[in-house]
């Protein structure tokens, strides 16, 4: 009997729902609260597979695309959801939502909800949503006599970084992701490219990565991180920057809004309470924050869709937010999914420094028109085509190499343009 004997010591008799998730603090909280769910639903056992972002994405994509069926719930983003819905790989959740009383679909932040829909129907439900913004050390800015503008521009940020940089081995000006991966380096860089007026493709699917706008943007990013950025830049992603910023080793950090929860946690951060927030810096566009959501979906192959939905609903409804707020702390609630969260006075009390900015960022993000000129694709910090995972990662490797100083920005973009062109060609016919 090989069925169900996949692991040694599997408990038989109850329905086990396997959840593939990206390991981050909010998900860890969900895991720690999940025994409550199991207590409320004795017929369901949960099993979590938590992986870091890159691994999770590779694993989940492979599993869902090949119908591997290891998972009943997968954590995916607004990048995958519409495509996978189109491919018929994941389950339409509208009927489930409709059946679930009190599950307030309308409460989801509209841009987030739309980004998780295909033909108007939601195929995944957001666990949290994020945009990007700039975090900075208020105390340091004060010391240096710098005033953060309400809507900073990138050149201003570069200047601040220079002024706050204490040199090698000491506190640096800014932390920017440099670790390869389309979900790592590529995300903030894409917003910079967009706001500099660059784009991946023109409407004829001609790759545009060597255009002057993209060049300028990338050169700016690379120069900034190389001159005033954190040490080990080409290896640092979200986690490394979180550590650097939390340990007071950089003065600014441009990254996901979800970072706020971490850096404001006094247990893990030495700078909690001394942080200011500003919208994503811009150049040529009015706003430049990204739109991203980690959401939960059910692969079509899952034989336990009802049980899976029970847990997904539990994890994404309003009560869950309450539960986290009460049991773990209001700084830890998953942000950016429900409007009601932002109306919650308890949440407002702990998060008024950044919460409005997050909501604003999410609402202003414009995946349909991310940059100045028209594009044939959707997405702010990604291009929603299946090849982008690979393309984005490969391009990010090139840029990362440029950040490491191994190659020049031009060389990196040259190579990237080749990749992009090859991919673009398959869309031209």
């Amino acid at each position: 009997g090989c069925s169900g004997a996949g692991a040694l010591g599997t408990a038989e008799g109850v329905e086990t729902v396997t959840v593939a998730i990206v390991s981050n603090p909010q998900m860890e909280d969900a895991i720690s609260l999940s025994p409550q769910f199991e207590a409320e639903n004795p017929g369901i056992r949960l099993r979590f597979v938590s992986l870091s972002e890159n691994e999770a994405r590779a694993k989940i994509t492979a599993s869902v695309a090949t119908g591997g069926g290891e998972f009943d719930i997968v954590m995916i983003s607004n990048y995958e959801t519409p495509m996978w819905a189109q491919n018929g790989w994941i389950t339409d959740l509208e009927p489930y939502m409709a059946r679930t009383p009190g599950y307030d679909r309308a409460d989801f932040i509209p841009t987030v909800r739309d980004s998780l829909s295909y033909e108007g129907r939601m195929y995944s439900v957001p666990f949290y949503g994020e945009s990007s913004f700039l975090m900075y050390r208020k105390d340091l800015f004060e010391q240096a006599g710098i005033q953060m503008p309400a809507q900073p521009t990138w050149p201003q940020i570069a200047e601040f970084a220079a002024r706050l940089d204490q040199g090698e081995g000491q506190r640096r000006g800014i932390c920017l992701r440099g670790k390869p991966g389309w979900g790592e380096l590529m995300a903030p860089l894409d917003t910079v490219i967009n706001t500099f007026g660059g784009r991946w493709y023109d409407p004829q699917w001609q790759a545009q990565l060597t255009s002057p706008e993209v060049r300028r943007a990338v050169q700016f990013y690379v120069d900034l991180v190389r001159t005033h950025g954190q040490p080990g830049a080409s290896q640092s992603g979200f986690s490394e920057c979180a550590t650097q910023f939390g340990q007071g080793q950089v003065a600014m950090w441009y990254d996901a809004t979800s970072a706020a929860g971490t850096v404001e946690d006094p247990e893990e951060s030495t700078v909690a309470g001394r942080i200011g927030y500003a919208p994503a810096p811009v150049v040529a566009t009015p706003s430049s924050g990204w739109l991203y959501s980690w959401a939960l979906g059910i692969p079509q192959t899952s034989p336990r869709k009802d049980a899976a939905w029970r847990f997904m609903a539990w994890m994404t409804d309003r009560q869950y937010i309450q539960r986290v707020g009460q049991e773990i702390g209001w700084t830890s609630v998953p942000p950016g999914s429900r409007q009601s969260t932002y109306a919650n006075p308890e949440y407002q009390r702990v998060s008024n420094a950044y919460a409005p900015l997050i909501l604003q960022g999410l609402q202003r993000a414009n995946p349909q028109q991310p940059t100045v000129q028209p594009v044939p694709y959707e997405g702010v910090q990604f291009v929603r085509i299946p090849e982008f995972q690979d393309l984005g990662t490969r391009v990010s490797q090139q840029i990362s190499a440029a950040i490491a100083g191994q190659i020049s920005v031009d060389e990196a973009l040259e190579q990237s343009q080749n990749y992009a062109q090859t991919v673009g060609e398959s869309y031209q016919r």
């Binding site: 692991a7 040694l8 290891e70 979200f238 893990e268």
Partner: protein
């Protein structure tokens, strides 16, 4: 501090009457001492990262992140508690299962095969051996795609038995090679004597040959255990929730929201511990096994 075999002067036999020469010393004593010191320094240098890992695992995260590394701190077990509470248990169980079962399978298949190959009349012995070892030369990565597809087709993804089969296949060639060289060390007369004494082949194998080569079997098993326990490529690509092994757990442990060195160290220490202890205990056998029995 080097121990030499020379006798201290006062222990000399007293009856060296006439010549009673000057105290005897060993040549190059100073050099010996220095080389010993160098060996110690190098040994400690090689071990230091491991030591530091273990040390870090007893720190709090705050103690772990200090620009000046901390040697003195208040040790805590909280990281280990953290690792265990984050569910290393099933992964450990999977690792143990995959390692033990695949090693047993390897032995079960390799012992008869090596025995057959060490006996005279199997024709094309060296072809077969060549085949076995050449499978080791082929990069696994070239086969991962079809393996993934096939395993997926038969619905065996994330199944511990998949890993067991693959680990068996991975270790079998080396095991056959090693064991054969051990078998070759068994004097032919013993087999002949056994056949004159009327023992059937399997009985000869069981009663005469296996006891002789048991150190070799042990060494082989140990090496299979090391490689199976540490295997990562198959594990990361073919398992998910059910059948993940300890290295996979370790990778999952690097959360995307922050590297916790201390906790990571605790997890890494736990992951490495079984094999390290086994290796320490059996290091002599290991030498024998690694040199393919080329050393008696």
């Amino acid at each position: 501090m080097a121990v030499t075999t020379s006798t201290p002067p006062d222990e000399r036999t007293p009856d060296t009457a006439e010549g009673a020469p000057e105290p005897r010393r060993r040549r190059g004593n100073a050099v010996d001492v220095w080389l010993g010191v160098i060996a110690w320094v190098v040994g400690i240098a090689f071990f230091f990262p491991v030591f530091w890992m273990v040390l870090t695992s007893f720190k709090t995260e705050a103690d772990a992140y200090t620009p000046t590394p901390k040697i003195i701190f208040e040790p805590t077990l909280e990281q280990y508690e953290g690792v265990f509470s984050s569910g290393i248990g099933p992964y450990l169980a999977n690792s143990v299962g995959a390692t033990v079962i695949s090693t047993l399978l390897v032995l079960l298949l390799a012992i008869p095969a090596a025995f057959a190959l060490s006996l005279r009349p199997v024709q094309k012995t060296s072809d077969v051996l060549f085949f076995f070892i050449s499978t080791k030369m082929l990069p696994v990565v070239a086969a991962i795609v079809p393996i993934y597809v096939v395993v997926n087709e038969i619905g065996a993804l994330d199944n511990i038995w998949t890993l067991i089969v693959l680990y068996t296949g991975m270790n079998l060639p080396i095991a056959v090679w090693m064991m054969r060289s051990f078998f070759l060390e068994v004097p032919g007369e013993l087999l002949e004597q056994a056949s004159i004494d009327g023992a059937p082949l399997w009985r000869t194998l069981r009663e005469i040959v296996l006891p002789i080569i048991s150190p070799g079997i042990f060494a082989t098993a140990l090496i299979c255990v090391i490689f199976a326990w540490n295997e990562f490529f198959f594990a990361v690509n073919l398992t998910a929730a059910n059948a993940g092994t300890v290295p996979v757990f370790l990778v999952g442990f690097i959360t995307s929201e922050g590297l916790y060195w201390a906790q990571l160290s605790a997890a890494a220490t736990l992951a490495a511990l079984p094999v390290v202890i086994a290796g320490w205990v059996a290091q002599n056998k290991l030498v024998q096994g690694l040199s393919f029995g080329a050393v008696k």
